[in-house]
């Protein structure tokens, strides 16, 4: 039996799934608490032992092992751009598409207090953007100088105006900051180019963040690399929608991933209007898009969900179901 092992090192649980490659079916699943404090492998081994009890006793051939992680808060980022609706928005889209949780988005010129805030928020990485190619250099340069002045200790991904990227790199290099230069996320006005930035973020996550989060042992376990969990969901959604060389995809789709703390919405679609007489305004949307509702979830954020729904509407819904509940019970 040729099996694929999928591992998700979650913030609470480490989840394992065994998939039969030949019949393309899920054979078994198991989970155990994520043990990030001592050794991530303890939780994994416990879940693996449980998984094995559900599998046939012989002829098991693990052909592939794949992993993703949102342990220790996943990938936490701050993004900096110029105009909120333009490069800052593009930076948010790039970071979300790379599977990051955006702690805060900053625009225009920052102050030392802002940099301090980024450190207090404990961002794993910064995405620094601003300006179209050949366009504005003022803000991105000023922000880079400030990061250099504060000797910013976390990796910085530079994805702004290409005319000044090199110069910004030099500024950060002199200060001893870790930086990565990638293509501009908005090379022309309203034109989005998030792929190179997403790829660079993934690389930096692999090189720096995984280790810092105590996941280094988990790396040896999997075949390729461990990616942020939201990115693996987005990749899966993309595969489902577009198919492969040998198999047709099911077409444009939306996946709603309701988690304990947040709700992720992944859409794989051009999202074009169905009528021709529509004038396009503003920023392009990426084909693979992820957005996050940061305070709506099933467990930690259940209270925020109730506040959004309001008790009145919940009562109405329960009535429709034929259920009755007093306000105190709600």
């Amino acid at each position: 039996m040729n099996l694929i092992l999928c591992v998700d090192f979650g913030s609470t649980y480490t989840k394992l799934t065994a998939i039969d490659k030949d019949s393309e079916t899920i054979i078994a699943t198991a989970k155990s608490f994520t043990t990030i404090e001592d050794n991530i492998m303890n939780g994994f081994n416990k879940a693996k032992a449980e998984l094995e009890t559900k599998l046939p006793k012989k002829d098991i051939n693990w052909v592939a092992k794949l992993g993703c992680s949102s342990a220790a808060g996943g990938l936490k980022m701050c993004v900096i751009g110029n105009v909120p609706e333009l490069t800052t928005d593009a930076a948010k889209k790039a970071a979300l598409g790379a599977g990051a949780r955006i702690l805060k988005a900053y625009h225009f010129e920052q102050t030392e207090d802002d940099i301090k805030e980024m450190l207090d928020l404990n961002a794993d990485m910064i995405l620094l953007a601003g300006g179209t190619d050949g366009g504005n250099e003022t803000y991105i340069t000023a922000n880079a100088k400030l990061l250099a002045k504060c000797k910013f200790p976390k990796p910085i991904v530079i994805a702004g105006n290409k005319s000044c990227q090199k110069q910004i790199g030099e500024i950060l290099k002199k200060a001893g900051c870790k930086y990565y230069i990638t293509e501009n996320i908005m090379p022309q006005l309203n034109a989005l180019n998030v792929e190179p930035a997403r790829e660079t973020i993934r690389k930096v996550f692999m090189e720096h963040i995984i280790d810092a989060k105590g996941l280094h042992e988990a790396i040896n376990l999997v075949q390729n690399e461990i990616i942020p969990t939201p990115l693996s969901v987005l990749n899966a959604a993309h595969a489902l929608a577009t198919g492969s060389d040998t198999e047709e995809g099911i077409g444009e789709l939306v996946i709603v991933d309701i988690g304990g703390a947040t709700t992720d919405v992944h859409s794989i679609a051009k999202g074009l209007p169905s009528k021709g007489d529509v004038s396009y305004k503003g920023m392009e949307e990426p084909f693979d898009k992820r957005t996050v509702e940061g305070d709506l979830g099933m467990r930690y954020s259940a209270k925020a969900l109730l506040e959004a729904v309001t008790t009145k509407r919940l009562q109405k819904y329960l009535n429709e179901l034929g259920l009755k509940m007093e306000n105190e019970q709600v």
């Binding site: 110029n82 105009v83 609706e85 333009l86 490069t87 601003g130 300006g131 179209t132 050949g134 366009g135 504005n136 250099e137 003022t138 105006n161 908005m186 022309q188 006005l189 309203n190 004038s279 305004k281 503003g282």
Partner: protein, 144 residues
């Protein structure tokens, strides 16, 4: 080599578009082509553009000038307060120009020009003025 590089003039960038609820696109395209032929990097934000759209585009593209078009008569309303917004956005010194049928009906040219200049526009192009005719004025304004 460094000195040669320093003398290389950076390509000029101009943001153009049609302001307000105006969808007249033909003139907009003619302006785009004309300026491009002069070697200008034209950032065309198209029709139905708000003041903020012009300003945002000018910031990100590091524009050397903004050229606002209006044909449907409501230009006066649409352009009010634009310079103020530009000052807020740090574009105090960016040349701001407007052209087209910028007011309702036929009004005295001198008065219209004064009105728009008071609103902070550096150049005002009246109905009947062709882009080809006013091109030298535009080029001078953006430092070409």
């Amino acid at each position: 080599m460094a000195t040669k590089k320093a003398t290389n003039k950076k390509q000029k960038t101009v943001v153009i578009g049609v302001i307000g609820a105006d969808v007249h696109v033909v003139g907009n395209k003619i302006i785009e082509r004309t300026l491009q032929q002069e070697g200008i990097n034209v950032v065309n934000i198209g029709v139905l553009s708000s003041q903020q759209d012009f300003i945002n585009a000018a910031i990100e593209s590091g524009a050397d000038g903004i050229l606002v078009s209006s044909l449907y008569g409501h230009g006066e309303l649409d352009c009010q307060g634009m310079r103020g917004k530009m000052i807020e956005a740090g574009l105090k010194n960016t040349p701001l120009m407007v052209g087209g049928n910028i007011v309702v009906g036929k009004q005295d040219t001198k008065e219209v020009m004064k009105k728009f200049k008071d609103m902070g526009f550096d150049e005002v192009f009246m109905p009947g003025e062709q882009i080809f005719d006013v091109l030298p004025v535009i080029l001078k304004r953006i430092g070409m």
